[in-house]
Amino acid sequence: MSKSEKKKKNKFLFELGLEEIPADMISPALEQMCQSVEKRLKEACIDHGSIRPFASPRRLAFLVEDLPDQQPEREEVVLGPSQSVAYDEQKKPTRAVEGFARKGGVAVADLEVVETPKGNYVGYRKIIPGKSLSEVLQEVLPQVLTSISWPKNMYWRESRFRFIRPLRWCLALLNNEVLPFEFEGLKAGNTTRGHRFLGEPEIQVLQVDDYLDQLRQNYVLADIEERRAKIAAEIEEVTPKGLHISSDPHLLETVVHLNEYPTLICGSFSEEFLKLPQEVLTTVMRHHQKYFSVVNEEEEIQAYFLTVMNTSGDPEGKIRKGHEKVLRARLEDSAFFWKADRKRGLEERVEDLDLILFQEKLGTYRAKTERLRTFCTGLSEDPHLDKAALLCKTDLGSDMVREFAGLQGVMGGLYAREEGYPEEVWKAIYEHYQPVSLEDASPSTRLGALLSIADKLDTVVGCFAIDIVPTGSSDPFALRRQAQGLVKVLLDHQMDYSLSHLVELAEKNFPAETKDKEVSEQVLNFLKGRVRYIFQEKGIPYDVLNAVLAVEIHGVYDAYQRAQSLSGIRKDKDFEALAMAYKRTKNILSKQSIELSAVSQENLIDPEERALFRAYSELKPKVDNNLEKGDYVAALKQIAGLRKTVDQFFDKVLVMTEEENLRQNRLRLLHDISQLFLKIADISEIVQENQG
């Protein structure tokens, strides 16, 4: 390896200047860029210190420190002729080897014999000097920039190169010197740009270390954490006393990346708008305007908002007035919707659903509504549930939901409440899209939970029936999320509907011509996959999962209880031994055909098999009783108690005897015992500690 480890003292600063990058794409791109730098420097054998990322809407940048002057030297062995060809019988070099040495510019005397797997060859060692840091960076940078993948690219000049937004400048400084580098028509220089209106249009950076300070003086905070901290501090500062903002981490992240110099102001709106539902106010503020809403200790919304400006201040209150005016117009619009939408009752709106398409092949929302009603009736006779199912999609035709799609369900619920429907009905409508993610709460009411299950399963089964199936990263109808939501609701509400029953119920609603024979099987497997995912997230070990999912999942909640019980007992010595014995049993049973019938007591000859039968017969009612109660821990402990008897049975009794009737009888006994477990799990899947 390299003889002289160079002093690491070089710094490299790179900034790509572009037109405003969409806020939500900045972090992922910056991360990709820095990872790519790291990977490519490693490939080039360039050690380095930290890579610091910087970004603002108009720039992606990084600073790498402690870079060496160049790549380390490499030693390469150049092989010539084989040893036998290189020297004659007198050990004199042949012409072949002389030619080889001449070509390589080395003396024959300096050649050495190199052992290789193919035999001995003559060769010499050659030192290949490393490329300079500058050369390496010039090679690496274009690869780094082209490796960033964006959700939606564009062309902007006559080049086939696409990027998220047009590139406008490029700064590349290696220890304060411009790195000669050109990319897509941009020549690297040492200038950057300040804030569009408050900073200088061109700023010369003479010292790498001055970069952040110079930008700050020009009203650009390129350090993301600095912006985040400024926003956090100013939220505290400007929020009226005794109030706080309604927590919104996603919005916070967006405003961090939406501004080069974020500054907060607090505005207000007329209290008359407080008669609008809180959900509407919050959505209007965040959705179009990216404002934080302000609440009191009781989380009740107040007539204030916080906005993050892309400038340093608003001494005359002009900006605040502007934002207040825009918000007022938006709130007026919403107040108009809130009033106009309620002129027609939800029941009247059901027929509007004929005009709203759910999916081309699966029909309108009217058709979906009817499917939901049939499904719900199959689960519960509660008339409130049927009413909720009938009305749950009607808000899709309302002006408010057309304006704010995120309020679907919520508006339906609120309109139903205003119309005086019972709480069971309006809450079920309100909550039926929940949970929208695993972090989101399940519906709080039982009817809400049932409607949520109905809605999600209808979408999943319907899509599978017309072959819209999630593959890899493609899942246009978010079926994975829907199915996860469904499983989460079943679990959170401790519901014991069997998955196959639910799927069957949902599938019956789709007309024969759209149905594919495989669908219910396929959907069940898909749901099982989601069950597995959620159980894993909840910390169930994978072998326990395998064991529990190997037997039929009746209810999701039941399966979860079985998994938890099994996780608790799997380390128990008796249980482990029994699991081993069961593996043998399963092995034997899988290779034999058994005619199933009751174990014949007369044909039990050996004392050990009689003992086992006795123990089993005594245990079965107790185990069944515990299974009935869902007390899987007790059942598993009881079964584990069989361990000694089972061990003795296998020690002394020859199952595979020649005598047909004895053999069948013993197989039946083993089969019966294995059935005890199989109501809980296939414990042969449990991986023993000593097996790894």
């Binding site: 806020a23 062309y155 117009a329 619009d333 108009f336 081309e360």
Partner: protein, 289 residues
Amino acid sequence: MKTFQEITHTLLEYWMNYGCIIQQPYDVEVGAGTMHPETFFRVLGSQPYKVAYVQPSRRPTDGRYGENPNRVYRHYQLQVILKPSPDDVQDIYLESLRKLGIPLEQHDLRFEEDNWEAPTLGAWGIGWQVLLDGMEITQFTYFQQTGGLDLMPISAELTYGLERIATFLADKESVFDLPWNRELTYGQVKKREEFEFSKYSFEVADTGLLFELFDLYEKESLRCLEEDCVLPAYDYCLKCSHTFNLLDSRGAISVTQRVGIIGRVRSLSLKIAKQYVQKREEKEEQISV
């Protein structure tokens, strides 16, 4: 304070001085300035072009009988096409705002992601909405496709919402209170129009007749194409589009129909764009729509 017409005038003058052709509004009903042939056709092909014009734009579903302070049946867009898009296009645009007397350093201006798309025109682009103190005043788009055809060079399209900018500058609550000139307000000039067209599109329009008209316009558009009259074909395509919008505001279009009708208008646009480009290549015309 600038009146509505002074704002329009200032912007047109700015773009005229920049070197744009100043065009007039198109005389067929359109929903947006993008549908003017000066945008639809000019962004196709390779000839450079710079144009600015005002386009009254009809949105039947936005009609509010002149009662909503922010929504109108017909609003005014000021549209600029710069082909190819200059490197400093954002700065040039921002300078136009300064010309209107907006001290940008005292305001909160942002470019927020907003990618424009017009399915009936087979057109889409990448860009932003420009927000001034929270108000959307301009749509800024780099055209990527029109009539389903990939574009090169790329044109920049700036669409100013004139009412929005005027509301901002005039510090008025309602668009109808804007001074059109020193004597008349926007409301005085426009309110009757707003009321009658809202009434027409929500209550009066004869949907049976409109469906027939749609079919006739479509047929004529296709016939024009057969006769190599691409520009007249486009006029009838625009008429189809407007007729569809009217039917939509009357709530006369069911889901299945909607998909079908959008598809029919789109199919016309694609044919028209394709034939326009082909003809242009055949004749190698210098510059004429």
